[in-house]
Amino acid sequence: MSIDTTEPETPPDVAATTSDERVARLVHPRAIRWLHWINFPLLMIMIWSGLRIYWAEDVYALGIGSWQWFAFFPDAVYETLDLERRLARGMAFHFAFGWLFVINGAIYGIYLLATREWRHILPDRHAAKEAKDVVLHDLHLKKEMPPQGKYNAAQRISYTAVLVMALIIVVSGFAIYKPTQLYPLPLLFGGYQGARLVHFWMTIGLGLFFLVHVLQVLRAGWGNFRSMVTGYVIERRSPTAPGNETISAPSVPETETHDAPIGGSA
């Protein structure tokens, strides 16, 4: 088989001979894979067209009082991404692809609820402590990964945050798009300009998530990336297989469904 990084401690030739001890488990259902990959270009188009809209009134900055530490955005950003003087086209793309983005997200939300898949994503009461350990592990300050299900605690927290941000960005977007027809929706954000500000910061938030996500996917390697395409990860053996009473076998970290590299891969 091709390079299999799901068990980095095992050379590929040995892996082939021992494959009968391993199984491929479906961790990402087909619907989630499709929705994930459809969302990717839609989100990119929404951010790109949204920045063309923002350019026309680019007033937000980080700073204190009149002192601006960082103004969104430097001219180089606008020039590089062809965002200048494209307000009308930006709006046309935004309000066309916005429907697809919302529909795709709504199907995803319904799917999570209907299949109870949300249980894999929502943080549980151990999440805060375990997420800290995941971060320490990723920074090579801690050897072991905390135990995990489909996702580790840091993933659960960040994926949940993304879903919350996605919901806020859609609701605030509608509040800016149709402030009269949907009144009093803008009041949720302190008014029309408040909704615009929230919409902007959610864009920054999703953009930052995207950067970290891509970085972590690159770090996690082939097996993890493949799992989002095929749905399957390789694990040592099925926990439900006969003779599995010794359930404490260290099989979970090898599913490598977390974004971070697994222990020993460094």
């Binding site: 199984v23 046309a92 309000f95 149709k178 402030p179 029309y192 493949r226 979970v252």
Partner: protein, 268 residues
Amino acid sequence: MSDQHEPTRPEPTREEQLRAQLEDAPTIPVSELKGRTRRSFLTGAAGAGVAFLGWRWIQDSPVDDGIPQPLRNTLEFNEQVWSNLSEGRSAPEFPVSKATPIQVNGRIGIRNEIELADWTVRVEGPDGELLDELDISAFEALPQRDMIIEHKCIEGWSSIVHWGGTRFSDFHARYADQVGDVPYVGFETPDGLYYVGWDMSSAMHPQTMLALRQGTEPLTQEHGAPLRLATPNKYGIKCLKRIGVIRYARERPADYWAERSYDWYAGL
């Protein structure tokens, strides 16, 4: 399998609990994964190809008033959705204390000062017939109201403005019998350089105002003296300053910014 009675089954550890969450996920032999991987990536490549072709189709479509036809069609679809939803909806109005001066943004059609005493507005029917030629006193004679609303520019800024004037619907009442059920009305500056089109139901909204005053003062020339449109329910691009012509129409009237890639409806 020894299914003997276990008198005290130990509590599952955290790790066991977490593993149990994946137990009902189906498994396949690793030997099948290679074929599945190939199929999945081919499917993904096909999907990416379809997405790319769709993107090219939009970009390569004929242009309708500055934007590709599919996008123009979607803007009109959106107009259908939202103009049906909007029946009876109104934007919030604010106390006078919230009102602020509004910045001067557009000068198209009002670059040169005019002699306000000489100003008149032509009112034209759907067949181009002249219905009236009015001076400002005709608008001062109509019922007056004040409206403190959030004026929203399509660029993204907004400001709460105190407008004074008459509802378009009160003005229209004078001509309703003559023009009948016309679906549109257009407005033009006296020089014809700036022009906007409105659908009649938006124009008849109680917050669509023919404004004569900002606050209690007559409009300044840069804000559209002596008569301009004001509304919280469409972007500022529709709020034409210095109205020179009001023209009822059976077809969508030309619209300066809609001809330049923007949405014709521009409704909020």
